[in-house]
């Protein structure tokens, strides 16, 4: 079985003289989650819409699992589920009916439809609303049903355009968990988002786009290492008790590969180090053995933000 893939080949889209997308070349292959980042109007949704044939490319090709979308939409999207912007569902239908329509269109066997729909709705925590009309739902509730619809046929490739839009914090967290579970089931997830912490939390790779042009596509750690102002090798440590400057300098600052250690506040310390993931792993182990009350050790969420701000200088 081949790994799931999506590929943009010289993909361009113009609206009159305005280039919404310029010569995008991007090949993503394998089971992973790729965050698609960029400012408003950068071309993220345009790209995803071309991949679902909602709009046509001015030039170039969009392929899903090697099949070009525009001339073979039905075949190309057979193995893909998509959530583009925030679709509306006929307000008079219930989630069961709306998802039944999707199940029928996607050819889910009749005997499996009921359970598949109920499972999908339960996964987005909407089981209590299964037989209520969608017209009465809030934006967040509709978005949950849209997510269920996108994942209903258990697609290999999942295209998500800002999937947590309209969701409350709990809903956002649940969607993140769903995406993480998809990764474990060997799916390829290509997800646009404005939420950098969300991308940092669930994505393995990032593609950044601005003014319709791809700026970078690489693993999250490589991107932050290459483009953040501090080289990306920064971790923040949290302690259960106060820690003074002396302890920071004497215990942490002297560790091999640590370039600097500074207190952010009485219980938090930021260290900069040289080296990669293995060094980071060793530092974690070394500080844990100090038994100085470490309760958290993580890359600051600002690493991706820093990278983003370095790469994308202005927004539209």
């Amino acid at each position: 079985m081949n790994a799931p893939s999506i590929e943009a080949v010289n993909l361009s889209k113009r609206y009159g003289s305005f280039p919404a997308l310029s010569n995008l070349n991007l090949k993503i292959e394998g089971s992973k989650c790729v965050g698609f980042l960029g400012p408003n109007g950068a071309g993220k949704t345009t790209t995803l819409k071309i991949f679902t044939d909602m709009i046509r490319a001015s030039e170039g090709r969009a392929l899903i699992n090697g099949i070009e979308v525009h001339p073979n939409k039905k075949k190309a999207l057979e193995s893909a589920g998509a959530l583009i912007e925030s679709p509306e569902i006929y307000p008079s239908l219930t989630p069961r009916e709306a998802l039944s329509m999707v199940a029928e269109l996607r050819g889910l066997p009749k005997g499996e439809r009921r359970k598949t729909i109920e499972d999908a709705v339960a996964e987005v925590k909407m089981d209590e609303w299964l037989d209520k009309k969608v017209g009465k739902f809030s934006k967040g509730m509709k978005q949950r049903i849209n997510i269920a619809a996108a994942l209903l046929s258990d697609p290999e490739v999942v295209l998500l355009d800002e999937p947590t839009t309209g969701l409350d914090p709990r809903g956002m967290s649940e969607v993140r968990d769903i995406v993480k579970s998809l990764k474990k089931r060997n799916r390829l997830i290509f997800m646009s988002s404005h939420l950098l912490n969300e991308v940092q939390d669930i994505c393995d790779e990032v593609a950044m786009i601005d003014h319709g042009k791809l700026l970078v596509y690489d693993t999250l750690s490589n991107v932050t290492t290459r483009f953040s102002s501090d080289g990306g090798n920064v971790v923040e440590i949290e302690f259960s008790r106060d820690i003074d400057d002396q302890a920071v300098n004497r215990n942490i600052g002297t560790l091999t590969n640590v370039n600097s250690a500074e207190r952010i506040d009485s219980r938090r310390v930021r260290i900069r180090f040289s080296g990669g993931a293995q060094i980071q792993e060793r530092l974690l182990s070394d500080i844990a053995t100090m038994k100085i009350g470490m309760i958290s050790f993580h890359s600051p969420t600002s690493a991706l933000e820093d990278t983003y701000l370095n790469l994308i200088k202005d927004t539209l």
């Binding site: 081949n2 909602m54 075949k75 998509a82 959530l83 583009i84 509306e88 006929y90 029928e104 066997p109």
Partner: protein
């Protein structure tokens, strides 16, 4: 490349993507469910029954002989004069925003991102609108026949059968036309308004101007073609003929009467052309 190597996901997962014809059926089914749940279908049914009720009341109050002396005359009075309006109303409300609504309300985003061709969506929605319209149409026809049988007995003139058939063809053309306009716009209200203006006023005004003042047969107007629905119910099928006073300023002119072949050509021509154009527009239209 990998297109040849990759087995379809469906076969790997044990389910097979339905044929496009089957997908048309699915779209039609849920379009009908949506219509039945919406007020629109019942409002149109009520309008149909209201017209039927008014006509039933008028005939009962004034006596059937005031309006018709024969079964054919009865159907001409009842059906011939009103069914084109009933069809136009159905076309406007079922077809006017069928496509534009998918863009404006963003319901299209839910449907289009699935593995189905746009042509399947278009045909499925058209069939849904046609089936819903046929139900309103059938209820109107049932009341007409009920009254006809009550006043003139079971012997329904065969011309009514012809008129019924022409009406169904006209309904197809009207829906083809309204779907075309619905594909042209992205705003539901504009597409409904434009089709309403065209069917309720513009076509009739243009037809009158062209035939009376310009003295040209308005063969290019759909409502002219629909004349066969009423004409076929006349005792003697009307013909085009020169008549003194029919022209501008009371001069000699011509009153035009569409023949059955002409009417069918106009109706079917409108259906085919607008269906193709509407479909092409929808296929090219972008969900921006």
């Amino acid at each position: 490349m990998s297109q040849l190597r990759t087995a379809p996901a469906s076969s790997r997962r044990g389910h097979i993507l339905p044929s496009s014809v089957s997908q048309v059926g699915t779209v039609t089914k849920y379009e009908l469910v949506n219509y039945f749940r919406s007020r629109r279908f019942f409002v149109l049914l009520i309008i149909g029954f209201a017209i039927s009720g008014i006509l039933t009341g008028l005939v009962a109050y004034y006596g059937v002989s005031t309006f018709a002396s024969s079964a054919l005359g009865f159907y001409a009075f009842w059906w011939g004069y009103s069914i084109t309006f009933v069809i136009a109303i159905n076309g406007i409300f079922f077809g006017g925003d069928a496509i534009s609504g998918e863009f404006q309300n963003k319901t299209g985003y839910f449907l289009v991102a699935n593995p189905l061709r746009r042509v399947s969506i278009y045909i499925g929605k058209w069939l849904g609108a046609f089936a819903a319209s046929l139900m309103v149409f059938a209820s109107y026809a049932a009341v007409t026949i009920g009254n006809g049988v009550y006043y003139f007995g079971i012997g329904i003139p065969y011309q009514f059968g012809e008129s019924l058939l022409f009406s169904i063809l006209y309904l197809m053309a009207v829906l083809g036309f309204t779907f075309f306009f619905s594909s042209l716009f992205k705003s539901s209200s504009i597409s409904i308004l434009v089709t309403a203006i065209l069917f309720l006023f513009a076509f009739q005004i243009i037809q009158t101007l062209v035939s009376v003042f310009a003295q040209i047969e308005p063969w290019f107007i759909l409502t002219y073609g629909s004349g066969i629905i009423g004409n076929v119910l006349a005792d003697t099928y009307p013909t085009t003929q020169p008549i003194r006073g029919a022209g501008p300023g009371g001069r000699e002119g011509t009153t035009f009467a569409v023949t059955i072949p002409e009417g069918l050509t106009i109706i079917l021509g409108y259906f085919v052309v607008t269906a193709i154009l509407g479909l092409l527009l929808f296929q090219r239209k972008e969900f921006t």
